[in-house]
Symmetry: D2
Subunit: 406 residues, 4 copies
């Protein structure tokens, strides 16, 4: 057991950190100004593609793609602290072409796509020249149970015809989005885990309607957004199926491990930034004759935040290590644990930071309220807390244990 | 001690409740549609004034104004459950002319205004023909400590000249707003509680600039909003001072008691609605073969919500009773307690309700995320938790107590 | 609605409070000294019976017995604050002949006993000349589900023969205990709520064995204790059955309401005393140059304790009021709520008080650790939290509710 | 970064674990039986010394003594998981001669004792032939602030004379205890961190009185116990001072690091055992027609316990790693964090386990209530939570941080 980052990791952390300091944090303000100035909130402020070019030129690109010849060859453990650093900024992950849902889609294509599919979609995604979305959750059913999914994928000659309605498809309305990976049912009568398939649908296919953006606690997250999408007799060639009929559940399981690590690491990144801001603020503000920093309850809030962040980070790193060494299946309890604990931790850290900022904390003058909305919604997307707690409990209950008789 | 509502109260609860069912809940949708359809989000959807007229005609008007010949003569205890009912809807309080900050401003004018001031401002406010705002908090200082307030009110001949910058002045940008009640300092060298004064400033006075609306967790609460306002050499006649120079702190203390009861009662109202929605939702949604309503952790969340709501309601009612019988000063610990506990309770109830709604809970398809933002910010406005906890602690520590030696 | 105690109640509160101050708190120390000096820890220190005589002489006797001609005729609401006052001392309730389990047993006999049973057992219990126990929980089964109870009560001629093993039968080993009220099954094949019966068993009946005292977090609560009792072919006449065969569940439901109120009120009483002691302590102790009372986190702990105590008290009083006015069945949600919240509240208040006392807090030099053990175990006895939360949830889920569509 | 235990560690874990399974867990019952059978509860049951001999023979001895030629040469990181395994049993640590307070005393003597002191005291302690105690906390002052300590150590000729009263001196009354290491003041007028000295006092020195054992939540922890000790004109030779006058604070700082790691690791060990017992219990017990293991809230409690244990363990291991690599001073924030989080975690895990065991959980039929008392008191001894949170906060506030301006 060894708790230092490797020299390779440290060196990359230094590179990413320097890039963040030089380009990304100042880029946030430019992004905001450009976004405020443009007429259509769904246009992409030009600074974003400029920053992407810079990051690519600096070789800080696609770092997320672990264990693949199509990426820089990092492990999950090596990528984790880089992901945390990127996560300190809302625009950070995309700058490095490491943003969800593209990351999960690239992993999916890398692992499960055939040569033709990879050539058509993975290549431009790795280039950062297009974006993509993932369409799984449905408004009409409790999608935490994936077997509830009702979108139909029906074979018709050499084509599949897709009908259904999805929501929370992040980035589907992004103007650069060209691909939707859609989960639906090819055989509702099969075993419950063999009914589902995943299929590649170009966004401009007739019948695909980008219905509306869904706000998260009032934030529409423009110009990216989370979208409702309807599929009305959407017809795509047979070759667009991923891996084959009935393999959708299997692919979903495969894609979720790294994605959960990424979200958790980003949560740690922005929790650190919230704590930083809290510390800076309480040193500045004076009430009742002394800085807020001298108040005992504020100090305890800072200490608890540090404890919770440290613990969550270590668990995420351990989960990454296990994914690298024993695989996602053996690491499924650890992955479930970080899926639960990272947003809970972030929610608490943000709540304290917001409180210490006073009215400023709930406004948009600081990044706290905005990013809080992401930490809260992370307790729901990619499976609600309840599903992951259940997964952990099931594994615990399967262990051999003894009563503690005195 | 007696825990039933009086017959008078029950009868009025029935009237308010019927009005809510008949007009207000359906009015919410009309309001939303009109608001979405209009070009300027800061226009007032016409349904609002129509509903106000109906409520006025029904005699359900200005019910908040306790212990005054200018109102219907209810006590705080009688008004409390009515306030709770109105609070179930975001638009409810204004429909009945019982919305903050007008309520606090009307109370202030009723108690502390002279005849001329009451005639000029209280009358149209009681009519509901204008709206008003209250400007106390400042961006540059920790305003939880009222002595930090820096806005200057300087005597110049027969006028006062006001300079300063305020924020979180709710409704200041409402197109119907005509009056700002502003807290500032007339004598920075006086005793710390005698430096402040309150002054009446017509919104159209030269030098008053409505700078920008401040969002709360992404919600701008249009067409009402919370505003930043600047005062640059704003000149008003001497007669606009309330009560006299140096009386600002005293007025602030007087106005806050009822306002805190009102906010707390509304919080109970919307917490009830959130719990209702949670119950309705979990009975509908099926996951893993059974309704969410049959899951143990969901059931415990419902039970805890009920316990927390009941306890908070009783404490608010007791505080109202004490204000009526022994006065705001003797009730200051109870008022502080409900100021703390009501939003904490609501935040927890909403958090559980949102989680049970899944993705829908964080969206705007339900009222949960929107109203959550109010419950969270209530832990900051009108004094942050920390200030009220300190007030309670100070009173407790002043009690005679004994060690529990065994 | 009215939040003052009635004059009658205030007068009795004053009497009980004075008696506590004059006799009971000082009696605690005498009790402890006598107990420490005697050879057998299960002997009753003489001070106890002396205090009982004094209380009886003062007319402060059997106050718990609400709505009965056999008691002083108080309502539950009138008794509640008296019960709280008595509960501030561990020996208080018995001094006033208001201690569990006798109170529940007296209520049971008063409501469900026939004339002969009342004469034989209720009279001496009301006199305070004997004590009694209640035997329901069994070590071999999850007794939170009363239908699990396995003790058999079999008719044999003019007798019943009882076999089984009980535990947590408080007071069964008290040297003054003469009566056990035992819950068992007369007909295991009947409907699940008609299988049980309650039977009166004199403690000296052959076959009754007082097996051992059960400590609670290390405290044996001598000279009273909680006991394991076995029944081996215990034979009592038919006439010892209460109300009739198959009525046990019905009686259990009837007896639990007041008992839960009593436990909850006592919890409030000792939580108040813990908070008092915390306040006294932090004013005395100096660390790092100032009294603990000036530390922000200690002050917030005091404020939160006050908030939680006030809320719990009001809910208990409301439950008592409902029991008086609409009956135990209509009040069952409120009764369940206080059964859950009172010990949770007390556990938190004690935890903070103990922490503020430092090492002294976990020792027996103060009453905190000892009484904490009661507050913690109260989350289990008379039904664990889980059972009561479930009862609340079931009632909530039965309500008509609406979704909060925006 | 690497999250597997080294092969060396794994091999030793296997040895310790096998020894626990073969000898220690069964030894607990023998210990309890022998203890119950003996007349004097303060006699040491013979099984204990037998187990110590076995562990010594197996080479599982003094494993705690990191980085020392007097021990087996493990690092803190290597020892940590062994300490966790030993901590699963109340008697485990002593069986391996790894029990507090001897461990801290041996470390102190090893680091700061001179040759003579080591020969006289360290040798028999390492042999396990005597035991020792540490006397720092005093009943009369808030000892969380070490500068409050009032015991005097006054030079008189070639001797020191010690006067004062200590409590919570664990093991001082153990019949095998021969040495007390006592903290007192040699120079009350010196700089606040140079007033204190530590001195070695043989327990049989005239003037040393073992006053009484102090129970922890009712548990006296016989035959070991926590003691009040008085020092009345206790005279020892000058050579008994450790390191020199005024070095007491420095020694205290040095000794606390490893001790906190050890307590934290043991807390993780017994939390694991509590979770094991909870799992075993809920699979067995049936209520309302299904095992408790199928209840959703029980399952979530199990999952949360797993998450909290995993996080705490990783943080303890990281702290151990830092102590090994950058030293106790650089690791002081991590050491403070685990001192806070380990008992909090254990308290929560035990609370859930106790609840799931029902009445059995608060009794002594299971080890839960007993060990709970240790986890709760660990939040006070070796410095209360508040002191360690403050230490963390101070370090955080010293960091350079930036506001998160949006």
């Amino acid at each position: 057991m060894y708790f230092d980052y490797s020299n390779k990791t440290k060196s990359m952390m230094s590179d990413v950190s320097s890039f963040m300091d030089e380009h990304v944090f100042s880029g946030e303000r430019i992004f905001a100004e450009q976004h405020a100035a443009q007429e259509d909130p769904w246009d992409i402020p030009p600074i974003l593609e400029e920053l992407k070019s810079k990051a690519k030129a600096a070789g800080l690109w696609n770092l997320f793609l672990a264990h693949s010849k199509n990426g820089p060859g990092l492990t999950n453990l090596e990528y984790a602290p880089l992901c945390e650093l990127m996560g300190r900024s809302w625009i950070g992950p995309e700058v490095f072409n490491c943003a969800a849902p593209d990351t999960g889609n690239m992993e999916t294509l890398d692992l499960f796509g055939n040569a033709e599919q990879r050539e058509r979609w993975l290549t431009p995604l790795l280039e950062g020249s297009i974006r993509s979305a993932f369409a799984m959750t449905e408004p009409a059913v409790a999608s935490s149970d994936a077997t509830n999914i009702a979108t139909s994928i029906v074979r018709d000659g050499r084509d599949y015809v897709v009908n259904g309605r999805k929501w929370w498809s992040s980035g589907a309305g992004d103007k650069r989005c060209e691909l939707l990976i859609v989960m639906g049912k090819t055989d509702p009568s099969a075993h419950r885990h063999l009914q589902q398939s995943m299929i590649l649908i170009p966004r401009d296919t007739p019948g695909v309607t980008i219905v509306r953006p869904l706000p998260v606690f009032g934030y529409d997250h423009a110009p990216f957004g989370h979208w409702e999408v309807s599929f009305d007799n959407v017809r795509v060639p047979m070759s667009n199926i991923l891996l084959g009929e009935g393999r959708g559940f299997e692919i979903a399981q495969g894609r979720l491990g790294p994605g959960r690590i990424h979200h958790a690491m980003r949560a740690i990144g922005y929790a650190e930034r919230a704590l930083d801001s809290m510390i800076a603020r309480v040193k500045q503000r004076i009430a009742f004759g002394k800085p807020l920093a001298e108040r005992g309850s504020i100090r305890e809030n800072i200490a608890w935040s540090r404890i919770e962040i440290e613990q969550a980070r270590l668990l995420v790193l351990k989960a990454a290590h296990m994914m690298d060494t024993v695989g996602n299946k053996a690491a499924r309890s650890e992955i479930a644990m970080i899926k639960v604990i990272a947003p809970h931790m972030a929610q608490r850290v943000f709540d304290r930071a917001i409180q210490a900022h006073g009215g400023a904390g709930v406004s948009d003058d600081f990044g706290l309220a905005h990013q809080w909305s992401m930490s809260r919604s992370m307790r729901i997307f990619d499976g609600p807390d309840e599903v992951h707690l259940e997964a952990i409990a099931r594994l615990e209950l399967a262990r051999e244990t003894a009563l503690w008789s005195a």
